[in-house]
């Protein structure tokens, strides 16, 4: 085998080693990213749980009975009778 051939072989050898190391590094990196993804997904779940809980709470507070009793008792409102209504047509 001539000199050039040997050199190429050595080069390829180191290349293979380097690539193998890179695979290891990348794999590690991808696992780290996956761990982070899981963390973020968990966070997203918590947030969306919060969101749906708040949405539920909101809809409980918007409950007709609740609104009606509060407007009647706290704000002293009442439904207008027909003779209290005046319609202004544009």
């Amino acid at each position: 085998m001539n000199r050039g051939g040997l050199l190429t072989l050595a080069l390829l050898y180191f290349l293979v080693i380097a690539l193998a190391l890179m695979i290891v590094v990348n794999r590690h990196h991808s696992r780290q990213l996956f761990a982070e993804l899981q963390k973020l997904e968990k966070e997203r779940d918590e947030l969306s749980a919060d969101w749906s809980r708040l949405k539920l709470e909101q809809s409980v507070l918007l409950n007709q009975v609740h609104v009606e009793t509060r407007s009647k008792q706290v704000l002293k409102m009442q439904k207008p009778r027909a003779d209290n209504i005046k319609v202004i047509r544009e």
Partner: protein
């Protein structure tokens, strides 16, 4: 230097032997490695994958069901299902307990300087054990189990490899246990469905089963859109069951889409409440109610009693979750009379201002006869409706030919599935006119011999409120309005509407349907049930269908009450519900009143009126 000088040919043989032995050993090892790598690689890889690789399902978020304003009617919330390997968990629990006991003894034994330090140690151990125990308590509480029953269950299941500690737990509860980092415990993410309107809208919205598939109502009808598509990912798991790496995403998860209904939850709530009150007041078997926007064909509310709470799957019985307004058909009875008059007007069989002679209050067809409670004599069409004369309606029906009558009813949707978007819609029944005898023509005139669901009947009234246009009915909020069909002339629609106003006057059968501030047109109805070959005098459906405001109609509200336990021949039982629901719906939709007491006086008192109006 001396070393180099020293010759050692003496051990040549040994050296060679050693070299050879080493070479052979190395060779064997390499061969073995090559064997494993080349010939057994596939099998080994499989074994490794079996132990580490898992295909994990990524659950899709189920879409919301919202009302017309975007308020949630069904919403998914993420929950955790906690599972474990019972053996490993029990062992870990024992170790924790041991640690806890030990540190307590140590603290008991030591006094003095080190007490503080020891207490810290004990606290640390006890919190881990205590945290596990309190986590168990929380699960028991969440699932309604007896306190302390979970460890016993674990022991029972200790021969198994897999045990659900609890399904669909709130995230915090699952996290208290997961945070302990115990071997053999892991959680799966799932979604749980919540229904903020509970039993108020149970029939419309429906519900899902434990696995998240819609089994009733809209949840079932639109399951595919709501559910989305679960994704699948191949992952590598470590010994503790934690995910280490996602190798490949096999199927992309597609979240479910929201479904927007035409329901207005405020009207829905009120309608259900009023219906329920009335049904229990009358000790009736059941009741249904539909609120329809005639101009758009949108169902604003639909309620049924008895109802069910979709949040609680335990207490369910089949008869509870039938959406009666959609799935049950019955003979409409007197509520069909305005349609008969409209059909006759359309067929030009009579004019709007004619009088119909109902003497002597009875018509005989061979062995059948149609009767009125008394002889009303010669009556106008509004009076016919107000008194709900069967003889009059029969006479009107007999004035036109069967084909016209059938065509008209068929155009209004009788005998056809309404296609509103529910599952299990009934088409009702409308036999072909070629089979009709004279009796059938008459009985169709006052609402017997055909059947329909309450939804169909409500829909059939919509043209009266929309200048004779029948809009396709829908429970889903459309992007843009569909095209309606002109089923009767605007003239016919408005004259029948005027006639129906006579029903809702003092002295009419629909007196109790009067809505303060609005002109109302409507019709009462009583339909006796046909059981065992004859009509039952004591078992009937009483109903009221009405349109308001009569001057510029917008809404149709239909109420039907099944077997009220009172004497009610004129449909009086349903009218109060109609009145209350209609009043509330018109108010909520900001429909201006058209029947204010005295307009002139109101103008004069304008300032006063305004202050009152401002306060409301």
């Amino acid at each position: 230097m001396r070393r180099k000088a020293l010759k050692s040919p003496v051990f040549q043989g040994r050296r060679l032997f050693l070299m050879l032995t080493l070479l052979i050993v190395i060779g064997i090892l390499m061969l073995r490695a090559a064997w494993l790598e080349i010939f057994q690689q596939e099998w080994l890889q499989q074994q490794a994958d079996k132990r580490q690789m898992r295909v994990v399902t990524v659950p899709a978020y189920r879409g919301m069901i919202t009302d017309r304003n975007g308020d949630p009617m069904a919403i998914s919330s993420p929950v955790s299902s906690l599972w474990c390997n019972p053996q490993e968990l029990l062992q870990a629990r024992e170790e924790l307990r041991h640690e806890y006991e030990l540190s307590r003894q140590v603290t008991d034994a030591t006094v003095g300087d080190s007490a503080a330090e020891k207490r810290e140690v004990q606290e640390l151990a006890s919190t881990r054990f205590a945290r596990l125990e309190s986590g168990f308590r929380q699960i028991e509480k969440e699932l309604g189990l007896e306190e302390g029953s979970l460890p016993a269950k674990l022991k029972e299941a200790s021969s198994k490899q897999f045990f659900y500690l609890g399904r669909q737990l709130p995230l915090e509860v699952a996290d208290t246990i997961l945070a302990l980092d115990l071997p053999g415990v892991a959680a799966t993410r799932e979604y749980r469905r919540y229904y903020p309107l509970a039993e108020t809208a149970g029939h419309v919205v429906g519900m899902t089963n434990v696995d998240g598939n819609g089994i009733e109502g809209i949840e079932k009808a639109r399951n595919e859109v709501l559910a989305g598509k679960n994704g699948q990912t191949r992952v590598v798991r470590d010994a503790k069951g934690k995910l280490v790496e996602s190798v490949i995403s096999m199927e992309e998860m597609q979240p479910g889409q929201d479904v927007r209904l035409t329901i207005d939850r405020r009207i829905q709530y009120f309608a259900y409440k009023e219906l329920k009150t009335q049904v229990s007041l009358l000790n009736a078997k059941a009741g249904s109610l539909v609120v329809l926007d005639a101009h758009t064909g949108e169902i604003l509310a639909m309620a049924n009693v008895p109802s069910f709470n979709p949040n609680n799957r335990k207490e369910l019985e089949p008869y509870l979750y039938r959406n009666r307004a959609v799935t049950d058909k019955s003979e409409p009875g007197s509520t069909l009379k305005p349609l008969t008059i409209a059909a006759a007007l359309e067929a030009r069989a009579l004019g709007a201002d004619v009088e119909v002679n109902t003497s002597p209050g009875e018509i005989k067809f061979g062995k059948y006869s149609v009767k009125d409670p008394k002889d009303y004599g010669s009556i106008t069409l509004p009076t016919l409706l107000a008194k709900s004369s069967n003889v009059g309606a029969s006479r009107v029906a007999l004035l036109m030919n069967a084909r016209d009558q059938w065509m008209f009813l068929s155009r209004l949707g009788f005998g056809q599935t309404p296609n509103a978007g529910f599952s299990g819609e009934t088409a009702g029944m409308l036999t072909n006119y070629t089979q009709w005898s004279k009796v059938d023509r008459a009985s169709h005139g006052y609402g017997y011999g055909l059947s329909s669901s309450l939804l169909q009947l409500t829909h059939a009234y919509a043209p009266f409120a929309a200048n004779g246009v029948l809009m396709p009915i829908s429970i889903y909020k459309p992007e843009k309005l569909g095209f309606g069909q002109q089923v009767m002339s605007p003239n016919t629609a408005s004259s029948v509407l005027r006639m129906m106003e006579a029903v809702v006057q003092e002295g009419g059968t629909g007196e109790k349907a009067i809505v303060d501030g609005y002109r109302v047109a409507g019709k009462t109805g009583t339909a006796y049930k046909y059981i065992d070959g004859q009509y039952q005098n004591d078992r009937y459906l009483t109903s009221f269908i009405g349109v308001a405001p009569a001057s510029r109609p917008r809404l149709v509200v239909a109420v039907q009450i099944d077997e009220p336990k009172i004497d009610d021949s004129g449909g009086r039982a349903a009218a109060p519900v109609f009145s209350k629901v209609m009043a509330e719906a018109l108010r909520l939709l900001d429909v201006p009143p058209d029947n204010l007491p005295d307009a002139k006086q109101a103008v004069q008192q304008a300032p006063v009126v305004n202050t009152v109006g401002g306060a409301t």
